[in-house]
């Protein structure tokens, strides 16, 4: 394992633009910069420099600031343990050097970092090498290319969850007191409602069917019903503009459809 530190290669360039990917990253950087041994870290010096960097990182308001602080506490704790005199009466087992609690994770992390770098140096698709058909996001001025609003939505589960969260935020919060009004709509009713609405309108914004000032259940059912109608191919969903928050635009998949599917959901 000790050979590993000979292979710790550190790019100094990230200091300008890129930030540290974590506290271990910052520590490794300091160890390399001071040209010290991972197994024999001058804790006082490194702690001081670590805290200096931390002050600068905090200005960046990193999400990971908490993890950086934990490491700062660990460093300070090790430093204080080193200051305590060790009993030298020969009866007790010598304690492990407290700095080892740093060395092991550091060496493991150095390996992770090296593996990450080696992944990043591979011939990456859509960065170094390109395959046929991987040019979907090529020049949008191509007149034959579909306009952004006509491109079908391709979303992951996470984008759906985010979309739902966006909707849920707009649901009016119950004001003072308890709301006794029951929402009695079912998924089947909602499916049929949207089906009839869409047959008439041919295309519409999601917010039109979700409606304003609806309760949580109604909004959730509209959301699910829209997805279900898209899944069975009755509707197509498109995103007009990701920023405007109006949600997807719904199109009738077959504009000539007269009835569409019947639903018998509970």
């Amino acid at each position: 394992m000790s050979e590993a530190r000979d292979h710790i290669s550190i790019n100094l360039h990230f200091f300008e633009g890129d930030t540290f990917s974590g506290p271990l990253d910052l520590l490794l950087y300091l160890i390399k910069k001071n040209e010290v041994d991972v197994h024999d870290i001058p804790v006082g010096l490194i702690t001081e420099q670590y805290l200096e960097h931390l002050a600068r990182l905090e200005e960046l308001n990193l999400d990971a600031a908490g993890d950086f602080l934990v490491m700062a506490a660990t460093l300070t704790q090790i430093k204080s343990r080193l200051l305590l005199p060790t009993p030298d009466d020969g009866t007790e087992e010598p304690e492990e050097d407290p700095r080892m609690t740093l060395a092991r994770p550091l060496l493991e992390y150095a390996q992770v970092r090296e593996m990450g770098e080696s992944l990043g140096e591979r011939l990456l698709l859509d960065r170094d090498v390109f395959s046929r058909g991987s040019f979907e996001d090529f020049d949008e001025s191509d007149p034959a290319a579909p306009k952004p609003e006509e491109r079908p939505l391709r979303v992951s589960l996470f984008e759906l969850v985010r979309a739902w969260k966006g909707l849920a935020e707009k649901i009016p919060k119950a004001t003072a007191g308890i709301n006794f009004k029951l929402e009695t709509v079912t998924i089947g009713e909602k499916l049929n409602e949207i089906r009839l609405f869409m047959l008439e309108k041919k295309n519409a914004h999601f917010k039109e069917l979700a409606g304003e000032n609806r309760g949580k259940l109604t909004t959730a059912l509209s959301f699910l019903a829209t997805l279900e109608l898209a899944r069975i191919g009755f509707l197509r969903l498109h995103q007009d503009n990701e920023e405007d928050g109006s949600g997807p635009r719904l199109f009738l998949a077959n504009p000539d459809a007269e009835t569409g599917p019947e639903f018998d959901y509970r």
Binding site: V112, E114, M115, S118, R122, F130, S131, G133
Partner: protein
Amino acid sequence: MQPLKKIVEALLFVAEGPVNAEKLLPAFEGEYGPEEINEALKELKEEYDNSLDRAFGVREVAGGYQFRSRPEFGVYAIRLKKKSPARLSRAGLETLAVIAYRQPVLRAEIEKLRGVDAGGVLRSLMEKDLIRISSRQDNLPGRPMLYATTARFLETFDLPSLNDLPTAEEMANPDPEESDFRVNKLFD
């Protein structure tokens, strides 16, 4: 009947993703078997890689073969792209590396190795379809999720299979013939 290698070449050209003998088999209606098709794919790769002076070659990725432009031409392709090329942060690459080598792996293990919260990075890797939730650790409280890489990961990183990830020894000492280091033994 056209020569096998030519047919395979045509199919490789029109294919949308990496293809292997199994995927191409239905095109031959029993005329050729998987072994012969596979042989033809290998020969094609060999030809494109070594004897033909072309700007693209046949790469073996994610269990199949695919035409890909050579890296020296990537810079031109990128200029045509409207979006900037998919960039992975160092945090993303490190997290991917841990998952690739240790999968299936718990978020807690990733965070322990990197010393930093992994939530945001995992989400972004998941959105890029590079990792997935493979299962849950049933014997731990809360049945935490286990992460693994996807086929898209192999495609993106130009890897035929997970066994082709370089080992720690290969990274340090670039002679791939030397070691048969097992991938999942890397950290043990």
